[in-house]
């Protein structure tokens, strides 16, 4: 995402230490991760010590301090999905992508993450790619789904 957009977000909150989380959420949303230089810019503009920006950014799982792949793959490990076979989905995704929970592959294609109850238990077990829910997933179907994302 362009530097321009990030700067725009930062400008909007200049001088407002109380808006730290808002600024970080917006940058995370646009840029998919928070580079250190960007956090330093946020610290300077919002007049928050850098250590506090780091503290917030590393505290919440919603923020990523490392680059993300082009596509975000989530497997739900919530109770319902678990009972409906999420472990098998995880094993298959891990086998196909070669990634462990939280990792991104070297060509930045996928970032794989598990999460607990992603809010659609009725269609579990589910696989979510870039926010799109694939319900009633089986390990056999996963390969075809992932193929659609280059």
């Amino acid at each position: 995402m362009s530097e321009h957009t990030i700067d725009g977000i930062i400008e909007k909150y200049r001088g407002q230490p109380g808006s730290l989380i808002h600024a970080l959420v917006e940058i995370q949303h646009q840029n998919h991760w928070l580079p250190r230089e960007v956090m330093q810019k946020v610290a300077d503009a919002l007049q928050v010590p850098f250590a506090q920006v780091m503290q917030i950014a590393s505290f919440y799982k919603a923020f990523s301090l490392t680059p993300k792949g082009r596509h975000e793959v989530h497997v739900c490990t919530g109770m319902t999905c678990h009972l409906r076979g999420a472990a098998k989905l995880r094993a298959k995704v891990e086998e196909l992508t070669g990634l462990k929970d939280g990792e991104t592959d070297t060509d930045s294609r996928f970032t794989y993450q598990t999460g607990a109850c992603l809010g659609s238990c009725s269609i579990g077990p589910e696989l979510i790619v870039n926010g799109k829910h694939y319900g009633r997933m089986t390990p056999e179907k996963i390969e075809d789904v992932l193929k659609q994302y280059e």
Binding site: Q40, P49, F50, A51, Q52, M54, Q55, S58, F59, Y60
Partner: protein, 222 residues
């Protein structure tokens, strides 16, 4: 403002509104053990060691005295079988991280804590936050901060700030109950600005009197 009267360990104690139970006890010379409390810093309530028993309108509860405000007619007991048990377990848990910290060794003796009860995870930091809060609240330099959360929470020096500020301060080294603040600083120095120490020493040969505490060899215990 009228004083609030409460009872601590059978003694009638007067305190001002807004004071914590810990402050009320301390002003009467009643000792409550603390690890994350520092009089110059805002109350933190992190270590839970200052837990006391409070009886109020017939109800007994266990509260963290460094953040619990005094109230009229409450009865506080700074030691009881249950309070001692709580402190013992807390010390045992902390000793999994910092088995040789002098303050913990003393507390372990007093409360009969077994330093080997929990599997070792020698992170050396007990996350009392004294270094972080002191740097923020007293020195206002924010050279050290918390990162991550829950069980993975740790302290971390910010190299960009540390290289400028820490050499002439080093005050958190002496506040830290485990010497980890010093170790963490030296590690960031080695990684991010190695050799700076030599340069500073060459430039200001007499100054500064270094406050680096020699790290004691760990007592060999089983």
């Amino acid at each position: 403002m009228t004083d609030i009267v409460l009872t601590i360990d059978g003694k009638e104690v007067k305190a001002k509104a807004g004071m914590t139970v810990l402050q009320a006890a301390q002003q009467e010379g009643i000792h409550i053990p603390t690890l994350c409390h520092h009089e110059k810093l805002e109350a933190f309530g992190g270590c839970r060691l200052c837990m006391v028993e409070v009886e109020s309108r017939g109800w007994t509860s266990y509260v963290v005295s460094c953040v619990y405000p005094v109230a009229k007619d409450i009865v506080v007991r700074t030691r009881s079988e249950k309070v001692d048990k709580i402190r013992k377990v807390l010390v045992e848990e902390l000793m999994a991280h910092a088995p040789d910290a002098p303050e913990l060794i003393k507390l372990a003796e007093e409360y009969g804590a077994d330093r080997n009860r929990f599997e070792r995870d020698a992170s050396f930091c007990i996350v009392c936050g004294l270094c972080v809060r002191y740097c923020n609240e007293v020195k206002q330099k924010n050279a050290v901060g918390f990162i991550d959360n829950g069980a993975r929470r740790e302290i971390s020096f910010i190299p960009e700030v540390a290289r400028k500020e820490c050499w002439d301060c080093q005050e958190c080294f002496t506040i830290c109950p485990t010497s980890y603040a010093q170790a963490a600083y030296l590690l960031s120095e080695a990684l991010a600005f190695p050799g700076q120490r030599k340069k500073i020493k060459a430039e200001k040969p007499l100054q500064p009197k270094s406050r680096v505490i020699p790290i004691m060899p760990a007592p060999v215990t089983t």
